[in-house]
């Protein structure tokens, strides 16, 4: 008989749960990009430590998934802040507006470099152009007569005689990853656009252009290594001739084992990423739902912490985690916008 009482109590528990939860939430809820995730984590931890308030819940859903959750509506069931490794899209602004989320604030927190790296055991001084990277990793290359051929390059030296005569092996992120989107956009598209005939194709058929310039090869040299970047680091160590593609923070943390490959003669480091000379870098944002500011306890203090000099500044703890900080005047602008709740689009 007790079993039935147990069942009943479990069911009551579930009901009480849903009822009690809808009433209030005392934890800040942050979703969004996996690239912004470590920075939001750091701020959340610092905030909980400093204020003694309940620790915010930070969940990594990807940039797109984050906007979906963030734009779901206003109220305690929906996230307060979302991180993004690109600016919000028109369609997402509309999705937000359709669900009543009209007042949001955008904050650019800094830049994230994508690095292409090899093991320190590799002795070549690597310096690639974006065009060479495209020729190594694209699925199809233009044949010069208006058509396309499957990528014939097997060795780096097939692309340019000055490159080493070792097989092309590159470990990179899968298509579900924001890092992959950024890599395709920042490297592959740039490397593709100057190839013979591509400019004409872009004018004639932009969809075809995007398809050709975005497709990574599937015949072996490019290996999708899953979302786990630590795994790529291990593989690079065991095979010194392979290259890996991941966020700059992984290169920075593993600088004893890996070295960055120069892209267009520029080495990846904090300075080159910040001044924009390193071509493979993207901006990082977070978006705040202003309707939650006075409803969710601690929101104001959390935002103050996020844009504080101790976090975002050049010596801040986010820079220690691999974020490339903004220039001083730009940072002051962001701080002002976030603290005043500047409405996005106004």
């Amino acid at each position: 008989m007790n079993k039935f009482i147990l069942t009943a109590s479990a069911a009551t528990l579930a009901l009480a749960a849903s009822a009690g939860y809808a009433a209030a939430r005392d934890q800040i809820k942050i979703v969004g990009s996996s690239t912004v995730f470590p920075y939001s984590q750091a701020v959340a931890e610092e905030f909980a430590n400093k204020t003694g308030k309940p620790a915010p819940v930070v969940e990594s859903l990807g940039t797109g998934g984050g906007f979906k959750a963030f734009c779901g509506g206003v109220g305690p069931d929906h996230a307060d802040i979302t991180g993004a490794s690109r600016a919000i899209k028109e369609s997402e602004v509309k999705l937000c507006a359709d669900n009543g989320v009209t007042d949001i604030t955008e904050a650019l927190i800094g830049y994230d470099g994508l690095s292409i790296a090899v093991s320190r055991a590799n002795t070549t001084d690597w310096d690639l152009t974006e065009e060479q990277i495209f020729k190594a990793l694209a699925a199809e290359l233009p044949d010069g007569k208006g058509g396309f051929v499957a990528n014939p390059n097997k060795k780096w030296s097939d692309i340019d005689a000055s490159l080493p005569a070792t097989a092309i092996v590159a470990f990179g992120p899968p298509p579900t990853s924001g890092t992959r989107d950024a890599f395709v956009e920042l490297v592959m598209h740039d490397g593709c656009k100057d190839l013979p005939g591509m400019a004409d194709l872009k004018k004639a058929d932009e969809d075809k252009w995007t398809e050709v310039c975005s497709r990574m090869r599937q015949d072996g040299p490019f290996v999708e290594a899953g979302e786990n970047d630590n795994l790529i680091v291990q593989r690079l160590e065991s095979d010194p001739n392979s290259v890996g593609i991941f966020g700059y923070s992984f290169l920075y943390e593993n600088s004893d084992k890996l070295k960055g490959i120069k892209v267009n003669d520029v080495e990846p480091n904090f300075d080159t990423i910040a001044d924009g000379s390193y071509p493979v870098a993207r901006p990082l944002f977070f978006y705040v739902k202003n309707a939650h500011r006075d409803v969710i306890p601690g929101m104001k203090e959390f935002l103050e912490e996020y844009v504080s000099e101790a976090a975002l500044g050049p010596d801040g703890y986010l820079a220690e985690r691999g974020l490339t900080p903004l220039a001083d005047d730009k940072r002051a602008e962001v701080q002002k916008a976030v603290l005043e709740g500047k409405k996005f689009g106004s």
């Binding site: 039935f4 147990l6 069942t7 528990l13 620790a55």
Partner: protein
Amino acid sequence: MTAVTFPAVVINWGSDEMAARRKRRYAADRRLQIYGMIAIAFALGFLAILIGTLTFTGYRAFTQSVVTFELDLSKAEIDRSDVMGADWRGIVRGALREKVPELPRSSERAYFAMFTSSAQFLVRDQVIRNPALLDGVARFSVPLSDPLDQLAKGQVDRDTPESQRRVTDRQIEFYEQLSAAGAISKPFNWGLFFNSDSRFPELAGLAGAISGSFWALLVCFLISFPIGIAAAIYLEEFAPKNRFTDLIEININNLAAVPSVVFGLLGLAVFLGWFGLPRSVPLVGGMVLALMTLPTIIIVTRASLTSVPSSIREAALGIGASKTEAIFHHILPLSMPTIMTGTIIGLAQALGETAPLLLIGMNAFITSPPAGVLEASTALPTQIYIWADSPERGFVARTSAAILVLLGFLILMNAIAIFLRQRFERRW
């Protein structure tokens, strides 16, 4: 009509031919045994490799280098009514500075980066828990930061050029100085069990994940155990045998084989979507895991109900017990040890389940352990998933250590199941 006659076959068992045949058959026996032993050796070998590599990469996470310093809080001007608001950063830095006399200002940044950046909070929380510390000199220990911890554990090659490692030459000098003064020690890392998750490997622990897993399993047990037993009793004792109950039976067996990620999607759609339950909480995690464990419990319970000899059932009914009385007074108590064993094994399986928990958001980053089933938390397998994906070097060892902890819990649960079976099970 001729009678069928069989030719008399005389077998000479001692002949060479027979001896050869015997030999062949014995050899086949021995080969079968050897194949079996090879199979077991393979299985054990891979298990040994798994545990071996985990231990090899993970054992370092079970110690943590700390720096110990003395602090006279009676001299620090702390307002007793506002201990939280005191200048802890200044106080702790002052105490650490004394460790290295004549610390030049230019090296301060490098020096303080050697210790965990949360040092002031650790000291503050310790004082708040024990206000008596305010009255005199007390000793405090704070962890070294991850790069220095790696150095202390011999994981940093000092011969690599300075620009290629996270520890600068100056920091190594400071480390040697502190080390020579006996300020650095490597005690057992209790933080691994009593801290919650953190961005900093030196502070990250499993407390949040362990309590999250505990709450989720509790919910899972409270739901799946009574429902599973009720369903099994009905199917075994009351249900008529017809096509409909056959269909139910087939479906239950099928459900036991459905990939767990499917239950995760179901939980996402039903529990979060329709019921509007919050994300990332152990309650929902437990409910999803309960769906997964239910078929196992039903199958085990039915099997153990059938194994109770019918003589017991008939004797009870024969002296006038109702069906309910026969079940609850006799049959169920006799089959309970087997049911418990099956349930514990089902729960152990649920403990290691990752995919459904990822879908309902139990892989969030939370720096405090959940106080109940309604507070967001992680679980052990999802914590492993988060740590495996973190760039800091210290998390590599911690990931392996967390896997070892999870394996420890699994072994414990299975051992309890075996103990229950050996101790209480009755054979007929």
